[in-house]
């Protein structure tokens, strides 16, 4: 009964989405106020029905209703409650429902927080988001219905993939989807502006806070995914250039470019056509990511179960949405005039440079991701493109970006003096080099050139960002008062840029100074790594709710002081043939100690154990947290709300 209710709610949501996608848009075109006014209630009703469907699916998981195929394939009576709830988005069908829910939430938020935007514009924006929703709901109902029944009813479910039975994976998909789908707002604003024929700076201003929030979610989602891969896959790495990772990274790069380009369009009225194109690209890449992950055209560690009809559907959907948008762009863009002029040395140029690099980096990743497909399509053979390609392309490409990030933020719009900049910057450069070298010599006896380069770069990013911030408050009397006067947008930008510095420290030291060792240990044996002494205390057997495990016990000491007691596990889930490695990690700000249990090695109760010492790896995710925080701060800037107040006052006067 409940699954049928959910199914019915999905169909009702689709009909609401059809209303939302058609009438308000036509109303805005023909100027029919009643139809324009339909946008908000239609969006709210759609959200309500999707929430009901989502609730129904969650309920069937909680009560173990294995008559629903999706539940039978992704759950089990032994599965703990938390994972039964997160199993709702653990497979293809349910994650689509999460996608649709997230789109609906974004649309609802747009209807609530866009009171200052003209009604016709809101109607178009909500309408465009409705069109996207129609596509996704149709896809779900026609090819991937999560409520499909199974007969005969199995007595036991197949269980959730053990890799997904983990807290990181409980929150990673919702974050990621909020990010992916969040770019649909900027996309909808861009399309709406083109439909309305008014591509002025206003749409950029309206889209900015939305883009920032979506970008924040995507940043956190990617960081969570990387963190999960680090501790759950047990390989000790944090980024693998896997097609699915790339699928989330490409929209992030494009979204980063979009944020900067939106700023330019809003403040200076330049890059107008380009910004529209970026808004289309960022969301298109989100859709492309969905296609790549679910159609099975690429092999990846975490691709979903594949089905050709699904692939065909998404491809058609992708063609309609992106093709339609680009066609609209081709029609409208020639009418756009970007009036403003700027000199070679100016913030405008710096932002253009930023955009070009980010887009080129994104395209190079797209090429690397699709290249195996191209080779396959031409019938040359099957190849895979791995980290060597991506690292050798991506790192040199983004280095200039790091060099310029703080400088660009200090530059003036339209025109700046090279002499003014060099006068300000040379002390920072000198200080970065000296401090960088001294720090590295204090940190290690084995100073590597690349490590010095990385640390100097991180210091440079930090120094220039702080200098730019200082410029903003100096000479304004009371420092505290001046700090209060700095807009949140500027705080956000500075914090995000500092995050880049933190991130660079993390990747530099982790990739150059990590040590790992595969060792054979018998109980009582010691091994030293990175200044820490690991003592193996043997393996015990543990029983979990739906698995059995071998658990290793290791004491870690440094200078005879106990630092940590680590218990890595090797789990065998009853429903899966492959054993799962649960690494044990002692996390710290300056280093992680990471232990993974291997195989038993015959006599004397010996086991193979893999030990890692990973300096500063936390800084990678800490940098991402800084960036996300920056995005949040910038979105909260009061100038996005001031306009609301002014309009309300106007209304009150009238």
């Amino acid at each position: 009964m409940i699954p049928e209710l959910g199914n019915f709610a999905l169909i009702l949501a689709l009909s609401m989405a059809l209303v939302q996608a058609s009438l308000p848009v036509i109303g805005a075109w023909k100027n029919i106020p009643e139809w324009i006014a339909l946008a908000r209630p239609a969006a709210w009703m759609q959200l309500l029905f999707i929430l009901i469907a989502f609730g129904c699916l969650t309920y069937t998981f909680i009560v173990h209703d294995f008559s629903v195929a999706y539940v039978a394939h992704n759950s089990n009576t032994q599965l703990p409650l938390l994972y039964r709830v997160s199993a709702v988005w653990g497979g293809h069908e349910g994650s689509l429902l999460l996608w649709a829910l997230s789109l609906s939430i974004w649309t609802g938020a747009v209807t609530l927080f866009s009171r200052s935007v003209p009604q016709a514009m809101v109607a178009r924006v909500v309408g465009v988001m409705g069109m996207v929703s129609v596509g996704f709901l149709l896809f779900m109902i026609l090819t991937s219905n999560p409520f499909e029944r199974l007969f005969p009813v199995p007595m036991e479910g197949r269980d959730l993939n053990p890799l997904l039975q983990d807290f990181g994976l409980v929150i990673h998909p919702p974050m990621l989807y909020m990010g992916y789908v969040g770019f649909s707002v900027a996309f909808a604003f861009a399309i709406a502006a083109m439909l309305g024929g008014r591509l002025d700076a206003a749409w950029a201003k309206w889209s900015r806070p939305w883009t920032n929030i979506a970008w924040m979610f995507l940043t956190l989602g990617i960081a969570l995914g990387s963190w999960w891969a680090y501790y759950e896959l047990g390989w000790g790495g944090w980024w693998f250039w896997d097609p699915v990772e790339n699928a989330s990274f490409m929209p992030w790069l494009m979204g980063t470019a979009l944020m900067h380009s939106l700023a330019t369009t809003e403040k200076r009225g330049s890059f107008k056509a380009w910004t529209v194109l970026l808004a289309i690209f960022a969301f298109s890449l989100s859709l492309l990511g969905t296609f790549l992950v679910r159609s099975g055209v690429l092999t990846s560690v975490h691709a979903f179960a594949t089905d050709p009809t699904r692939g065909v559907f998404i491809l058609i959907f992708l063609a309609v949405v992106v093709g339609g948008s680009l066609l609209l762009y081709a029609i409208r863009a020639p009418q756009i005039r970007s009036a403003s002029q700027f000199d070679l040395v100016s913030r405008d140029t710096a932002l253009l440079f930023n955009n070009v690099i980010l887009v080129v980096a994104c395209i190079s990743i797209l090429l690397g991701t699709l290249y195996p497909l191209v080779v396959d399509a031409l019938g040359i053979g099957k190849i895979s493109v791995g980290p060597p390609y991506f690292n050798s392309v991506f790192i040199p490409l983004t280095m200039p970006l790091a060099i310029l990030v703080g400088v660009g933020a200090m530059m003036r719009w339209k025109h700046d003096e090279i002499t003014r900049l060099t006068r300000k910057l040379w002390p920072v450069l000198l200080a970065s080099i000296v401090i960088g070298i001294v720090l590295m010599m204090l940190y290690t006896s084995e100073v590597k050139v690349m490590a010095v380069v990385g640390i100097v770069l991180a210091l440079w990013v930090t120094g220039t960002t702080l200098l730019g911030f200082w410029d903003r408050i100096k000479g304004k009397g009371n420092v505290l008062r001046a700090l209060g006067k700095v807009p949140l947008g500027f705080y956000g930008m500075s914090v995000a840029h500092l995050g880049i510095g933190v991130f660079i420290v993390g990747i530099t030291l982790t990739s150059l100074y990590s040590t790992e060792k595969d060792v054979r240990l018998v109980p009582g044996e010691k091994y030293e790594l990175g200044g820490y002494e690991f003592t193996f205390k043997g393996v015990t057997r543990k029983k979990g709710p739906n698995y059995i495990a071998h658990e290793g016990n290791l004491h870690v000491t440094k200078d005879n002081k106990l630092i940590a007691f680590l218990q890595p596990q090797k789990r065998i889930y009853r429903t899966q043939p492959k054993p799962m490695t649960e690494a044990a990690i002692d996390a710290g700000l300056t280093r992680d100690l990471f232990v993974a249990l291997g195989e038993p090695l015959g006599a004397e109760n010996a086991w193979s154990v893999r030990l890692y010492h990973k300096p500063f790896i936390r800084w990678i995710w800490l940098g991402a947290v800084f960036m996300a925080l920056g995005g949040l701060l910038a979105a909260c800037d009061k100038r996005y709300r001031q306009q609301n107040k002014r309009n309300e006052n106007k209304r009150a006067v009238v």
Binding site: P152, P154, M155, E156, R158, A273, L277, I280, S284, F291, S295, G296, V297, T299, T306, P308, G311, V312, L315, L318, A319, V322, G323, L326, L327, Y329, A330, A333, P334, L370, L373, V374, D376, A377, I572, R574, T575, Q576, P577, K578, P579
Partner: protein, 178 residues
Amino acid sequence: MNRYLLPLFIFIALVILLAVGLSLDPRKVPSPFIGKPAPAFNLPQLHDDSKIIKPADFKGHVWLLNVWASWCVSCRQEHPLLMELANSKQVPVYGLNYKDDQADAILWLKQWGNPYQASAFDSAGGTGIDWGVYGVPETFVIDKDGIIRHKHIGALKRSDLDETIMPLVKKLQSAAQG
């Protein structure tokens, strides 16, 4: 013709590429074990550790290998059918006791009946991996030459036995050894 059409053209090229990619995907092959020699194993018998079971022992006979475990709920479902099959003596059924506790498994057979000529005891699940087992129960049909001819995933139903497995077994039994 204007330069603003360029993104659209590039995108169309991309869509064509992806469409070709969709039609290509040859990743989905039926179980790679069908038509291949049964992977060898050398496992102790469940009821008697000192005796070894290996597929080579059954050369010259058509036989079934049923993967089971005492913790497996669906195994209970197909169990009466296996008992019936064993009693009819049409084809020998061997068990592969998978990731189980020895005492639990023996108790389970005592309680519900033992349809197997013998069960190999695979507590670590290594043989299961060799055989490409990804869920319990699974049933394999192996011919006189030791080649896997059929694999059934999940609990057996009467229709599976009557329509697929038994006709295949009859055919294989009447064929000469190659």
